[in-house]
């Protein structure tokens, strides 16, 4: 995002895996951190520490990020963002998406965890097309 500052907009949708115990907790945690301006930081920590995504672990990560713990804990325990997560899940199912991550880069669908180089090539192509 730093490389493409002002040129690219990133929209992230939640799609917690249905068979993982803590994937919903992780989605709640990232959105709760987002309320305090630390979405990306939490997102990175969750990926780095997966599969340790239980309640105590995400609380530990929140402390690492220096979040307001009272607000964070209340958010994840109250499932404050459940409606957003459910809305995102419905969107994925409606679009017949089942794999995470799935990217849409200007409409081009890319399934699976891809290298930066792979994604950069597509982003560059799409930026070029957009300029025409």
């Amino acid at each position: 995002m730093e490389t493409y500052k002002g040129k690219v907009r990133l929209v992230i949708k939640n799609y917690p895996y249905k068979y993982r115990d803590y994937s919903h907790m992780a989605a709640e945690a990232s959105l709760a951190a987002g309320d305090q301006g630390k979405y990306c930081e939490m997102h990175d920590l969750l990926l780095k520490n997966s599969p340790r995504l239980d309640r105590d672990s995400v609380i530990r990560y929140a402390k690492e990020l220096g979040l307001d713990m009272k607000a964070f804990t209340a958010s994840i325990e109250g499932f404050k963002h459940a409606a957003i997560i459910e809305r995102d899940k419905k969107l994925a199912v409606d679009m017949d998406l089942y794999n995470t991550p799935t990217f849409f880069i200007n409409g081009r669908k890319v399934i699976g965890n891809r290298s930066y180089e792979y994604l950069r090539k597509i982003v560059d192509e799409e930026l070029k097309n957009a300029k025409r």
């Binding site: 895996y17 249905k18 068979y19 993982r20 599969p51 089942y98 794999n99 792979y118």
Partner: protein, 354 residues
């Protein structure tokens, strides 16, 4: 012996010796697919196979179909260095194209299957691919009336895992590279290749020695070679990959599977010393569309592949020798591979899965 007879004998010996050291296989144009005696192709069967190919019921958690790793838009690969995998697991090898699998004598990079019917069930059962219990799959599909009808029509019988594989195999046999410039050229159309591609063909059959192994209609000798392809660094220190590798080794009764640190290749299947880290010669048909390359996807571009072979392959290998190609020859070779070997794009209308 007369002097001219001796000359003839010497000449003959020279030819024989030359043939023994330099062998360029014959390139053949596409002229149809082999007839399947044990699993005859019918339109109804291939259509059923297509439905199954795209059906996520074939995976344990309902997130993956065959098409997840063999996407029509990516020439029936997934475009990754290492193939996509079942959620929470990691694969260890590149997803090969399905184009022209009808011609392959062996399937998988290590050639563990000899028929598509045998091959099709492996990924379904594999813990790190589709992770499906086949007994459960049979019962699940038997609850889908449209499938019950289709299997009755196509096979005159009920749904079984063997018939599921037969239908998928029939569909896969329709994925054929046709009408490439090379096909047209080999049939006599001299204008089918550009001058640069013609030069590349000369390198392919001559100095580049590509046709030593990549020949016939499928541009493959269906043999296995240990080229000592560099390790994919992404695999080396990932415990999930180690788990996958050792799991496969255990399944194939590799004695020291718990100490295994690298991909043993065909050795896992044959236990023959010469097969250590050997992998199947892949087709080069539609090669420009199937990057990245090699069994572990470690070479991202055709330029990297050409450089690898030009260097004489990986360190310590005995299968290849340095080629000494000039930059122009490499360029021509790449042009040939990109222009001449790309057939008509296979467009698949996604089926409605029942």
């Amino acid at each position: 012996m007369r002097k001219d007879s001796i000359s003839l004998l010497v000449a003959l010996l020279f030819v024989l010796m030359t043939c023994g050291t330099v062998f360029a296989g014959h390139l053949e144009p596409f002229a149809g697919v082999p007839v399947q005696v044990k699993n005859p192709q019918t339109p109804e069967k291939t259509e059923l196979g297509k439905q199954l190919f795209f059906d996520r019921r074939l995976s344990g958690d309902g997130t993956m179909s065959c098409a997840t790793c063999h996407m029509p838009e990516l020439a029936f690969t997934d475009g990754q260095d290492i193939s996509l995998s079942y959620p929470t697991t990691k694969n260890w090898r590149n997803s090969p194209t399905l184009i022209n699998v009808v011609f392959q004598k062996y399937l998988f990079h290590d050639g563990r299957s000899k028929t598509l019917e045998d091959q099709a069930l492996f990924p379904m059962m594999s813990a790190f691919e589709m992770n499906k219990n086949l007994d459960f799959l049979e019962e699940q599909l038997r609850q889908v009336p449209a499938y019950v009808d289709s299997f009755r029509r196509v096979f005159n019988g009920e749904i079984t895992r063997e018939r599921i594989a037969m239908a998928i195999a029939a569909f896969e046999r329709t994925l054929v590279s046709v009408n490439s410039p090379l096909d047209r050229f080999l049939r006599g159309d001299q204008k089918a290749l550009s001058d640069e591609a013609r030069k590349g063909l000369e390198v392919f059959e001559g100095k580049g020695k590509c046709a030593d192994c990549h020949y016939g209609v499928n541009l493959s000798d269906d043999k296995f070679f240990a080229l000592h392809v560099p390790e994919n660094q992404a695999l080396l220190n990932d415990p999930r990959v180690t788990a996958t590798m050792r799991f496969v080794a255990k399944v194939y009764h590799y004695k020291d599977y718990r100490d295994l640190k690298e991909d043993p290749g065909r050795y896992l299947i044959t236990k023959k010393k010469q097969d250590w880290k050997a992998f199947r010669t892949p087709t080069l048909r539609d090669i420009a569309r199937t990057a990245p390359y090699m069994h572990n996807g470690v070479l991202a571009t055709l330029d990297e592949v050409i450089d690898f072979f030009d260097r004489g392959g990986g360190e310590g290998n005995k299968a290849l020798k340095p080629l000494g190609l000039t930059d122009d020859e490499k360029k021509a070779l790449k042009t040939f591979m990109v222009e001449a070997l790309s057939g008509d794009e296979i467009r698949i209308a996604y089926p409605a899965v029942p």
